[in-house]
Symmetry: C2
Subunit: 177 residues, 2 copies
């Protein structure tokens, strides 16, 4: 009977597209000159995404202390700290929130004969899932935006750098100017 | 301006409730006698969840070769292999599908000046995200259902075992009977 269901559905666990956009935006902002900023509209244009959607993620990054927001007509976003101090985990948690992917709903307390007293220890299944989440986060914490940019530069034939430079030459706003 | 958005939204990356239900169901089936089976309805009743919803996940577990389905009026589900050979990763992948949580949409190829040629190397951001997924999966692969049951038994004051036994005493179907 299960032959009819060889592969059920697509994976429901999915990092939002916001994570990709947020990491690319932070990497772009890391290449600004010291006094430079970019607006949400410019970052969205560069990445070919909707400003309204990206704005939500930029605000989350700002709220998490990863980006600084400069007000005024020459305002925009820039990094709030150096690229070496921004990890992929910082960005993922800012965009996705702090909760782990696995949420134990304590189904062992349901059904016709639930556990008689509220369990004092976390469910072993939940504990194992959280250890995996910890390993995932530890790996993301090991990688900074500075590392990413160094790796990109090492493998670049010049086209990636040229792409960023060309855009920044036109769009970067300088506070001092 | 970002003070208005101290914490944006809930985390969108979320393992489906199906993962919790599937792991608990496999753990329950691991406690059957050699010839025993349980129907989807019984497993759903025990866990206080909807049969129609659980059935989808049981079929996915069957399709992945984790559960065996026995037809007929005394039919139902049982493990297709021993609990020591079923890892949490097997179950998560069966329910959620094989794709990693992070899906690179190659936004570096979008915008007004995309990369001039199709990149030959994976984006460094994607590579870093996939390393984290690998660490997550490695951790889930280390834990079997047999490990979970051993850990549960070690910390059990008797109430967890009693709960399962009482249910199985009434509901377990035996093929040989």
């Amino acid at each position: 009977m299960d032959k009819k269901y060889p592969r059920l559905g697509r994976r429901t666990v999915k990092l939002s597209e916001g994570v990709e956009q947020a990491i690319h935006s932070v990497a772009m902002l890391a290449q600004l000159s010291e006094e430079g900023v970019l607006s949400a509209g410019e970052l969205a244009e560069y990445h070919g995404v909707k400003t309204s959607y990206l704005l939500k993620h930029l605000q989350a990054l700002s709220g998490a202390g990863i980006l600084a927001t400069l007000p005024g007509p020459k305002g925009g976003y820039r990094l709030a700290r150096t690229a070496a101090k921004i990890t992929l985990l910082d960005i993922v948690l800012a965009v996705e929130g702090p909760q782990p992917a696995f949420r134990c709903l304590e189904i062992r307390q349901r059904g016709p004969n639930p556990l008689p007293v509220k369990p004092t220890r976390p469910c072993e299944i939940n504990a194992a899932m959280l250890r995996a989440e910890k390993a995932y986060r530890a790996e993301l914490q090991r990688v900074t935006i500075a590392d990413i940019l160094k790796d990109v530069a090492a493998g670049d034939d010049g086209s990636i750098a040229a792409r960023g430079c060309a855009f920044l030459a036109i769009h970067e706003r300088r506070q001092g100017a």
